[in-house]
């Protein structure tokens, strides 16, 4: 049996071999030896003149952009849809048939399209800090946020907000995170927050950092903030620390993004792989039970909510909840479980019921919902991508044959989603997820054409 496993692993993973010169490239790139140099440090003073010049240039350009934006048109109306977490198409978020956002490199530098994806313009605001990290979040065609985070000399962040599709940005107040010292964090695991906005004013921001000194037995430290003025100011809501490596686990229950809030008080966070770990002493969830991680007080406290579903065997010893709940409005949402099991709620997530699925290998990125009734699901082989359409919230499904090809030399169809009954988007991605081509349908998913390309 072990030989079979080894053989299968080699068959699966030998598809890529290192370049012959990887070793020499690695060692050519080493800098002069300097022990224990911090990764995120302030530049030395010998660069000061250049930095000052860059700062002045950025400030000038930023000021001009801000001034131009302040004279621009006000933002358009907001979508009634609950802001769902950054999911499988977080890198490209088409909000309407023509308007969309993209952050193709995951670096908080959003691009914007107004012609259905044919052309993209970098609309990112100037960085507030030298170094650090950026995160982006897109609520609708008008509203988006970019958060800058820095760890030197102390942990700080601030949000940039746009209400007019990136034509101008308003910079929020700087927040100093004083509940943890930057010296306590693993410098190699620093990252920006995950964001979720319920509406243009109310949002949450979650940092998930790893404390150093216990590596590789990573201990996490989480900080949750909320805003009620569109990101201009943030209030600390709660903190948490936990570890999933090394039993017994004593420090706390796991937190993690993405977040999704359905009201000012109720929200969910998704961390499916770590809801149960044998040997833990902390009772985070009921062992072997399906559960969601939920708050009912705006994020101050979180509980694991067991899922009791009639007709579903809730015994689960491994990964059960494979995706965050996808709420299409404050009451209606869907949840994919392992084993292509689809659940639906019509009371904001309190109770869930079983729905049918058209395939046996679906996961959270396999189904897209336009509203509580209209959804699309896809299963595909390398050669074909049949779509399935439901108009009754997953009770029944109808097959649509498409012209999509699952696999080409350019990559694979990564995800499909719809912005109205006839208009949908998909992208073709490399195996690692790097987007290369955006595809669009205007006939409900039968025919798809290339409309844009990312590098």
């Amino acid at each position: 049996m072990e030989d079979l496993i080894r053989s299968k692993m080699h068959e699966a993973l030998d598809v890529e071999q290192p370049d012959g010169d990887l070793r020499s490239r690695v060692f050519r790139s080493l800098p002069a030896y300097e022990a224990s140099r911090p990764r995120f440090r302030l530049p030395s003073f010998r660069w000061a003149p250049e930095l000052i010049a860059i700062f002045l240039a950025v400030a000038l350009v930023g000021g001009l952009l801000y001034a131009r934006g302040s004279l621009g048109l006000p933002g358009s109306g907001t979508s009634p849809r609950v802001s769902t977490p950054a999911g499988p198409f977080a890198q490209v978020s088409m909000m309407t048939a023509t308007d969309g956002w993209a952050d193709p490199n995951w670096n908080g530098h959003p691009r914007r399209t107004t012609d259905g994806g044919a052309h993209w313009t970098d609309v990112s605001p100037p960085s507030a800090f030298v170094g650090g990290a950026r995160s982006s979040h897109f609520l609708d065609a008008s509203h988006a946020w970019v958060v800058d985070t820095s760890w030197t000399p102390r942990i700080r962040f601030l949000a940039h907000r746009t209400t007019n599709g990136g034509r101008s940005w308003q910079q929020g107040a700087q927040v100093t995170v004083d509940v943890v010292s930057p010296a306590a964090l693993d410098e190699n695991a620093l990252g920006g927050p995950s964001l979720n906005f319920l509406d243009p004013e109310h949002g949450w921001l979650l940092f998930d950092w790893i404390l150093q000194a216990k590596s590789p037995a990573s201990e996490h430290f989480n900080v949750l903030y909320r805003t009620s003025d569109g990101g201009l100011h943030w209030t600390l809501v709660s903190t948490n620390s936990w570890s999933f490596i090394g039993a017994p686990l004593t420090s706390g229950c796991p937190w993690g993004g993405p977040l999704v809030f359905t009201s000012l008080t109720t929200g969910y966070m998704n961390n499916p792989d770590r809801t149960y770990e044998p040997g833990r002493t902390q009772d985070c969830s009921t062992p072997n039970q399906l559960s969601l991680h939920v708050t009912h007080d705006g994020g101050r406290t979180w509980q694991f909510q067991a899922l009791q579903v009639i007709g579903l065997n809730t015994s689960c010893g491994y990964v059960c909840v494979v995706g965050a709940p996808d709420f299409v409005d404050p009451l209606h949402g869907f949840l994919m479980l392992a084993g292509s099991t689809l659940l639906a709620t019509s009371d904001g997530g309190t109770t869930w019921s079983l729905r049918s699925t058209p395939g046996s290998s679906l996961d959270a990125s396999s189904i897209a919902w336009l509203n509580a009734s209209d959804g699309w699901a896809w299963t595909f082989t390398a050669a074909t991508v049949p779509l399935y359409r439901t108009r009754d919230g997953g009770a029944t499904w109808t097959r649509i044959d498409t012209n999509l090809v699952g696999q080409t030399r350019d990559g694979w169809i990564g995800a499909l989603y719809f912005v109205d009954q006839r208009t949908g988007f998909a992208y073709r991605a490399t195996e690692a997820g790097g987007i290369s081509v955006l595809l669009k349908t205007i006939d409900g998913g039968v025919t798809w054409t290339d409309v844009g390309r990312f590098n």
């Binding site: 080894r6 080493l30 590789p216 990964v319 195996e431």
Partner: protein
């Protein structure tokens, strides 16, 4: 590589000798890439992880204690880097319901082969994926897997068991399915 030679190389590397560092870590670069690719399923990401890990290990040479085995030390840094990269990446997109029935080129054949196992591996918790890759792809003994992952051997066994349980449909001999 004898113990004396390693200690000499470590001393030389600590003094800033890159060729000594190359001799110490270079032999493990290919294994490091395979570990990183097994965890990330991304060629460029795997190369980046190896490069970053080499940089980290170069900078942390001063912390290296006498007698430390180089391979688990370096692979632990690679694995740590991969875990960090995985946490920063919230999704992966590739799924393949069934292999291409008739492949027309070596490229397609190479990619399609094993796609179901790769897809299943991606659904594992990163700690379980890491344990399976180290044990069954790099063929390392349990003790070394434990050293690399920083957990007791018993925990490694538990992770392997849970990983294998989730992967069982892909590791079942064909004849057993009929």
């Amino acid at each position: 590589m004898t113990g004396k030679l390693v200690s000499d190389l470590v001393s030389a590397a600590k003094a800033g000798d890159r060729s000594a560092f190359d001799e110490l870590v270079g032999p493990f670069v290919n294994q490091a890439f395979r570990l990183a690719f097994g965890m990330l399923h991304d060629r460029e990401g795997a190369e980046d992880a190896v490069q970053e890990a080499a940089l980290r290990s170069w900078r942390k040479l001063g912390n290296l204690r006498a007698g430390t085995e180089m391979r688990p030390w370096f692979l632990a840094i690679v694995a740590n880097q991969c875990r960090t990269m995985v946490r920063g990446r919230w999704w992966s997109v590739l799924r393949l319901d069934s292999p291409l029935e008739s492949v027309g080129s070596a490229f397609e054949d190479r990619i399609v082969r094993g796609a179901d196992v790769r897809a299943a591996l991606r659904k594992l918790a990163i700690e379980h994926r890491e344990a399976l890759v180290l044990r069954y792809y790099l063929d390392l003994p349990l003790e070394e897997v434990a050293a690399i992952t920083g957990v007791p051997v018993g925990t490694v066994k538990s992770r392997i068991n849970r990983g294998l349980a989730a992967m069982r449909p892909h590791f079942t001999p064909v004849e057993a399915l009929t």
